[in-house]
């Protein structure tokens, strides 16, 4: 049995798990069974993906007698699909593992269990689909399953709104994809990926496909300005589903983009790449700025997802720019950075969402301003989330930095590009990415410092207890992945390189040859970085310093009330709040970029009423794009509404008129 067939069987099993769960809903252990089975099946998928990356079992295809009658449903496993199978397998497997424990907190578990395995299966089908029809169908099933999962807590009005916005955006995105495949297939209508790959098309048609893919895959991944559904929908779902949506589904969307733009479309002209780079860099900055302003823990994480998607798109845009100029080594570098970051983001964002889920399970709170002090009450969760926060802030020696470093190295390859416009733009975009990285550190100091450190700001936070072992195990595995991929980035790069080779016909030099796990993307004289040695040096000097100080100087320690400049027993609410922490950055960057406003209502002297400070921060995309759009749609609908109340005579004459107009048009055209 080929790897493709095995994967298809696993997807079928996943799709069947939902109905099985419904049938067995009276069984006490149905939740454990479903999540355990999903976890095991995903583990198998990860193994198939890893084997595929090592060159085993790829290349096999399978045509099922479903779908469009003349081509059937085609499935194919290649290196690119194998890499994303690993992402799906690891992310889905660990999320399911986490859910074995976390799922117990669910008030209506069947609302998740019925759709969760099918969601995983549909994502897998997207990865293996090798014709437009099965791709779009799997994509749509994936969207609908995740929509149903977002609706789990449907009693809350916010959730219903989030699901509605998501459904509209998902439909819109698929519509764009449909058009993209229409243009790709051309007048002959070859809908198999092989036929699309073989066809030739004009640069204009290719640019149209790129634009449609940016809309279709970009909206699913969270590319600005089509990201607005993401911070609503991802946090509304149960936390393991949030982890899956942010960690894996956005990656499946990126897979769609890479598959079409890099694989099916072939090399594009250089002028196609600036749009991707600029959109990516701006998305990164805007996403992380909104994350800094956000009080809701899970929503802040969702905004940070938007930032990371921006970073990945910028890297993909760089790869397109280099590829258009025939700079294979530089393109391979940027593409490797993108794939590496895709893996990293799967690991740390899943970890952070699971941490947020643990906090939610322990306290029932998502509002940062009511958390605090969890480092004492939930020590293991706090430690693991700290690892995730360090990793996502792109700090050495963890994995986020390794991919960020590769990306900056790719930015520095820009002087060899002949086009002056790109030459100037790429370092500027690099500056924006550096800004996003610095802001990410600020965002995660805020999230961690307010949420986990300090003193508890509410009774619920005061009484939090550590979560179950299964959840901790799942988070622990992801934290270990973050550390390992940071210390041994060369291993990850070497594992990715068959994908890069398959897509770009070029790859980075083999990293396993370098000493001390150093990564050398181009040449040693140019740049190198050894996460292992940095980690070792930090560990040695920190423990050495601690040992020396304790041995030779002093080891005495006394507990006393906090100093706080001599102000004793202050209320926990005198600590910095989440909004207070964001205030400097809100004033500096938020007032210009996000139109953040503060209004202060100060009572007159002698009045004992409290002064009230109101902060207004909103995503600018709503006000500038979506509000006018909805307004236009509503006003158009109001005008059209009159057409509903005409007499039958008028309708008949309108039909007749339309017929004449169409015939006239046809006459002129032919």
């Amino acid at each position: 049995m080929s790897a493709t067939d095995l994967s298809l069987l696993i997807f079928a099993a996943l799709l069947a798990l939902g109905p099985v769960a419904i049938a067995a809903q009276r069984w006490a252990h149905v939740s454990t069974f479903v999540y355990g089975a999903a976890s095991g099946l995903c583990g198998l998928l990860a193994l198939i993906g890893l084997a595929g990356l090592a060159g085993h079992g790829i290349g096999a295809g399978r045509v099922l007698p479903l779908g469009l009658p003349w081509i059937g449903a085609q499935f194919h496993l290649d290196a690119l699909a194998a890499f994303f199978l690993v992402i799906l397998g690891v992310g889905g497997g660990i999320s399911s593992l986490y859910a074995i424990g976390y799922g117990r907190h669910e008030p209506a578990p069947m609302r998740v269990l019925a759709f969760y395995p099918a969601f995983l299966g549909a994502m897998g089908l997207v990865l293996l689909a090798a014709d437009a029809f099965s791709f779009l169908l799997s994509w749509e099933v994936m969207s609908l399953m995740s929509w149903a999962l977002v609706l789990t807590h449907h009693q809350e009005a916010d959730t219903r709104r989030a699901a509605y916005v998501y459904l509209v955006m998902a439909g819109f995105g698929t519509f764009a994809l449909l058009l993209a495949f229409g243009v790709l297939a051309g007048p002959e209508g070859g809908y198999g990926f092989d036929a699309i790959r073989a066809a030739t098309r004009s640069p204009q048609a290719a640019a149209v496909v790129l634009g449609l893919m940016l809309i279709g895959a970009g909206s699913k991944a969270g590319l600005a300005p089509l990201h607005v559904w993401l911070p609503l929908a991802h946090p509304a779902a149960p936390s393991h589903v949030s982890a899956l949506m942010s960690g894996v589904m956005t990656k499946v969307a990126l897979y769609g983009f890479i598959r079409v733009v890099f694989d099916l479309l072939g090399p594009l002209a250089w002028w196609a790449s600036p749009a991707v780079i600029v959109l990516g860099a701006l998305t990164a900055v805007m996403g992380i700025l909104l994350a800094i302003m956000e009080r809701d823990l899970k929503r802040a994480l969702a905004y940070s997802t938007i930032e990371n998607i921006g970073v990945i798109f910028a890297a993909l845009g760089l790869a397109m720019a280099f590829r258009a100029n025939g700079m294979t080594a530089a393109a391979a570098l940027a593409f490797t950075a993108a794939l590496f970051h895709i893996f990293n983001h799967m690991a740390f964002k899943s970890l952070l969402f699971m941490g947020a889920g643990a906090v939610l399970a322990a306290t029932g709170l998502r509002d940062l301003d009511r958390l605090g002090g969890l480092v004492h009450r939930m020590p293991v969760t706090s430690f693991l989330v700290l690892v995730g926060a360090l990793a996502i802030s792109a700090l050495p020696p963890l994995n986020g930095f390794a991919s960020e470093w590769l990306l900056f190295q790719a930015v520095l390859m820009s002087p060899a590009i002949p086009e002056v416009g790109l030459q100037l733009m790429i370092p500027a975009a690099g500056g924006l990415l550096a800004l996003a990285a610095a802001l990410a550190a600020a965002a995660f100091v805020r999230i961690y410092g307010i949420g986990f450190l300090g003193r508890p700001r509410s009774d619920a936070a005061q009484k939090a207890v550590e979560v179950d072992r299964m959840s901790l195990l799942a988070m622990g595995v992801l934290a270990a992945l973050c550390v390992l991929a940071g210390i041994f980035p060369g291993v990850v790069i070497d594992a990715i390189s068959p994908v890069v080779d398959a897509v770009l016909a070029g790859r980075l030099p083999k990293q396993a040859d370098a000493d001390w796990f150093t990564i050398v993307p181009i040449a040693e004289a140019r740049s190198s970085y050894s996460g292992f040695l940095v980690m070792a040096f930090i560990a040695i000097s920190a423990s050495g310093a601690a040992w020396a100080v304790h041995r030779f100087a002093s080891r005495e320690l006394r507990r006393a009330p906090a100093w706080d400049c001599g102000f004793p027993d202050a209320d926990p609410n005198t600590q910095y709040s989440a909004s207070g922490f964001a205030q400097p950055l809100r004033r500096v960057l938020g007032s210009n970029l996000l139109a953040a406003r503060e209004t202060v209502v100060m009572p007159p002297p002698g009045d004992h009423a409290p002064a009230i400070l109101t902060v207004h921060v909103a995503d600018p995309a709503w006000a500038s794009i979506y509000a006018p759009l909805t307004k236009a749609v509503v006003s158009l609908a109001t005008v059209m509404n009159r057409l509903q109340f005409l007499t039958i005579r008028r309708y008949l004459s309108m039909v007749f008129l339309l017929l004449i107009v169409l015939l006239l048009g046809l006459m002129l055209w032919v």
Binding site: H376, L435, G449, S530, L533, A545, S554, Q575, Y576
Partner: protein, 318 residues
């Protein structure tokens, strides 16, 4: 023999930076005192302070977590590793390939991340104000620094600091507008990152004006000593960085003999003193800024660094 010498140089460099860092602080303080017609503490006062703090017991806030106790050593280690990778008196450092300029910037970012977390750990308002402002300043200064790194890397064709330094000593560099802008940007970043006037005042304990000091307000004893030492190391790192990139004269190459190294050490000491004196002069002549003026000041660095990078492409033939 060459390998042994390289290891010796790397080891000497690591010890040298730790040994010299407090002295640099002493020089700056002494000079500032003299400029304001005060006698000032002796040059070795910072050493005495650190030793005294190390021998004292730690008074730990009641709800301080394990993180609070680990952070001083983490901050010190990250800063020390970064400082050990910046060429001071010689370029051919044994482990220079471990981390390039981008990684050095990020290592300082790690140290800052931990320190800002520690500021929020005890749960006092001063810690919060310090961390919040530190991250605000850093989120402007770090991109400026990164763009400066881009400029240097694009000129030298490498992000490896030893290679950059060697390239800067070669005659083919010439005078470039971009380099001047990068220098100004880097100096501003250095002032901001080291909590110097006009961004922050290292000598103040007036609550509302402090950033760095507010973050470390709850620290005492050996923990505070480690943090002070790390702060001194960071100042030394920035001066070494500016020295080896923009004023690389006298720095020993990888194949210079022992005499070259000796000369390198002497020249390096000279550079440190000159930089310390200039820092003291600058701080004496300028007033501290209001905290919301700081973004404008650091924003200048950001703009200059960006312009420097872009000018590189416009005036590549210059």
């Amino acid at each position: 023999m060459g390998v042994i010498l390289a290891f010796v140089v790397q080891g000497a460099q690591m010890l040298l930076v730790v040994a010299l860092a407090p002295l640099l602080v002493g020089v700056v303080r002494k000079m500032k005192s003299r400029l304001t017609r005060r006698q000032g503490a002796p040059l070795i006062q910072p050493y005495r302070d650190i030793l005294r703090l190390m021998r004292k017991e730690v008074v730990l806030a009641e709800n301080a977590s394990w993180l609070f106790r680990v952070v001083p050593y983490m901050v010190f280690a990250a800063t020390w590793v970064a400082a050990a990778l910046v060429p001071t008196f010689a370029t051919g450092l044994q482990f220079s390939w471990t981390a390039d300029l981008i990684a050095i910037v990020a290592l300082l970012g790690s140290a800052r991340f931990f320190l800002a977390l520690a500021g929020m750990d005890v749960g006092t308002s001063f810690g919060g104000i310090g961390s919040s402002r530190e991250m605000m300043i850093a989120s402007m200064a770090e991109p400026a620094m990164m763009l400066t790194v881009f400029t240097l890397a694009l000129i030298a064709g490498s992000t490896q600091l030893s290679t950059v330094a060697e390239y800067m000593t070669s005659p083919e560099v010439g005078l470039r507008v971009s380099l001047g802008m990068a220098l100004v940007a880097l100096v501003i970043v250095a002032l901001a990152e080291n909590a110097r006037i006009p961004v922050d005042n290292p000598a103040t304990h007036l609550e509302l004006t402090m950033v760095h000091e507010a973050m470390v307000l709850e620290y005492s004893g050996r923990h505070l000593a480690m943090i002070e030492l790390a702060a001194a190391l960071k100042l030394l790192l920035y001066i070494s960085l500016i020295g080896c990139v923009f004023f690389p004269w006298g720095i020993a190459g990888s194949d210079d003999g022992v005499a070259g190294y000796a000369l390198g050490v002497l020249v390096y000491l000279g550079k440190l003193v000159v930089a310390g004196v200039m820092l003291a002069l600058f701080e004496t002549f300028i007033a501290k800024m209001r905290v919301f003026r700081v973004p404008d000041f650091v924003g200048v660095a950001l703009m200059l660094a960006l312009l420097g990078t872009l000018l590189l492409f416009v005036s590549r033939s210059l």
